[in-house]
Subunit: 395 residues, 2 copies
């Protein structure tokens, strides 16, 4: 929400999380109004006894609850079309503060509420992210833009995989200093195996286009310095960027996942339309399934072990042929917490890529956390395949 508000020219000042206690809510809203023109409140609108926000805000703004018949109709229709049973508590969700504008929630029963007080605004929304985002996208941002007249902020985010923030920072010191000196801002936003770099600048006096093209020039220089690590911009996912590349070239992908256990498949199929290029995969967790379904040779497993260059290459080749795909990714590793040896410590992961002309494999070590190893293995595999497709190495 902060990022979206920022895009609409509203600077996020503070986020406060408090308990569901009326006095705490009132104190927090009072404090927020002393420092901000717009206050967003989420949560506490559910139908259960621990939800007290609606009643508290109704009293705070000196108004009272009344049934809104148009909202009641919406709720009744939603229940009748889904076939779920409507309870008295759901009916009570149509009791809303008289002085508030209602921001319709089409995904649940807790409505958004817009309160005004001395040229300031408070929006109360349900805490379920899916419902809250829907309300803001459909009604909230528009209404905010009309009410407040702000200078928009231009920002772009560059997405990197496979390089730590310290290493990025070391190689862009001069670039970063020049950017800051010219009044732009840079934020490093790290997550496991990935760093997002957000560049932003204020667009005053309607010069948004100029700011935009200056940011593009900064990004062009980043692309020159880190071609392999930068996979996209904005809200793209790595799986989506790879998928677009495959779709453009009429190519398809299959998977053979051992240590990643289905996570690469999940990342790929989280992208709408992925059935255009994704044929499927095998989660080959047992050795038997590596042999019987992917066709890995029992000798290879016996001589080299499941976590080895030979095995992971045979897995990739097997998946490519079973699913009749252009490319295949295979993973095999020791995610831990058990199973490590001196030779193959916890965190050891072999990744293989197979294409029409070549199969390659590489060994990584992603450390001792099981969930990090799974996550970083998946992202590393996707970005490695992206680079190999771009350079034509697997053809």
């Amino acid at each position: 929400m902060g990022e979206q508000l920022y895009l609409h020219g509203i600077r996020l000042n503070k986020i406060v999380t408090i308990s569901d206690v009326p006095t705490e809510i009132v104190a927090a809203v009072d404090e927020a109004f002393t420092r901000a023109d717009l206050v967003l409140v989420t949560g506490g609108l559910g139908p259960t006894q621990d939800d007290v926000t609606k009643e508290t805000l109704t009293a705070y703004f000196g108004t009272k609850l009344e049934i809104r018949s148009e909202v009641l109709t919406e709720i009744e229709n939603a229940f009748s079309s889904s076939g779920r049973k409507m309870l008295e508590v759901h009916r009570k969700q149509a009791e809303l503060p008289k002085s508030a504008d209602i921001l319709l929630n089409t995904r649940g029963t807790a409505m958004g509420m817009w309160f005004e007080k001395d040229d300031k605004v408070l929006i109360s929304m349900p805490g379920v992210p899916y419902e809250m985002k829907g309300i803001m996208r459909e009604y909230g941002f528009d209404k905010i833009s009309k009410f407040f007249k702000t200078n928009p902020i231009v920002h772009k985010t560059v997405l990197t995989q496979g390089i730590g923030e310290s290493y990025i920072a070391e190689q862009i010191t001069d670039w970063e200093t020049s950017l800051r000196n010219e009044g732009f801002f840079l934020a490093y936003l790290p997550s496991p195996g990935m760093v997002r770099l957000r560049i932003s600048g204020y667009a005053e006096n309607g010069n948004a286009e100029e700011i935009d093209s200056r940011i593009d020039r900064y990004i062009a220089e980043l692309n020159r310095r880190f071609p392999k690590y930068i996979y996209g911009t904005g809200r793209q996912t790595l799986a989506e960027v790879l998928g677009n590349l495959l779709r453009e070239q009429n190519q398809t992908l299959a998977l053979a996942e051992s240590c990643t256990g289905g996570y690469i498949g999940h990342l790929i199929t989280s992208t709408p339309g992925s059935s255009d290029y994704f044929m499927g995969g095998v989660v080959a967790y047992s050795n038997d399934s590596k042999v019987n379904i992917l066709g890995v040779s029992a000798n290879t497993l016996a001589n080299h072990g499941a976590v080895s260059e030979n095995t992971v290459k045979e897995m990739a080749n097997g998946a490519r042929s079973k699913f009749n795909a252009t490319f295949a990714i295979a993973t095999s590793g020791i995610a831990g917490p058990d199973g490590g040896t001196d030779e193959k410590p916890i965190g050891t992961v072999w990744i293989a890529l197979a294409g029409p002309g070549k199969t390659v494999a590489k060994k990584f070590n992603f450390g001792k956390s099981r969930s990090r190893t799974i996550t970083i293995s998946a992202h590393s595999a996707l970005n490695w395949l992206r680079n190999k497709i771009l350079s034509g190495v697997l053809e």
Copy 2:
């Protein structure tokens, strides 16, 4: 962190998120000390130019930075053992405030720092959750428990799947009222398809055991009312509970995932030790892979479509036999945003379970959000299999 502090008898008063600006940090710490005895600060300790927390807190507590040689040695050892290149910015991470106690971070270069002021404490930690949790688990909570002498709070969380919070609340009104009247607290913590119910009570005068057994009696009554929906307690995951059940009975599991695209496999393999009972799965995204790898009949696909009772049952049977497993789960559905029809709208999901004696299937509709449909499908499948195994229906 709030939940863990609560367990250590410290009530969470407020969470504040602010920007990386020294004046904002100082104002927030000042305000926090007026209302709390313990202040935890996360983030802003990285080596990049936007990280200003260490310098700001050093000035705030009137001390100065100095190289801690024991910390420098730890950092040097970490770099040399992982083979990564140590930069000057990493060396600077060993410059720490003189008056602070250091809470060693063994997962990264940003150390935890413990500051004291007038019997109050501030702990500064890196923002990376994995590092922050490590510091608190290894050093933070112990030091907090020794410094503050508090009444512990006893709490237990009951985990449910497949029933909405309104429906739970409606069926436990009397139970909830009696619990609150006796001085206990109840929180409903919903996430897609799941609701956690947290029951807690203060243990004063060393009566923690009595409070604990009173909470157990409340939970016993919940189990009586919702046997199918309650799958566990505490921090268990549904995949872990199902896995333990399979392990105890020496049974194994295979998957055939279409619309869930590998997510069920990911949930199962996120549990350490899952190779004891998980044989593997097929992500059968293309129709060809349903036929060629899982053995679904081409006629079934032609006559009934991929999203149908017949197809999903054949997928489950195919996975069970291919992986030689006791049980198999199969999913096929329309996650959206495209592909819906009047007969099979977006959100339609067929789930099948196959066992030694029987294969069953059920149709669900999980609504219009792709990610919610994937998540809820996966959890519904796991909980349905758990119930069917417990009742012996698939034998």
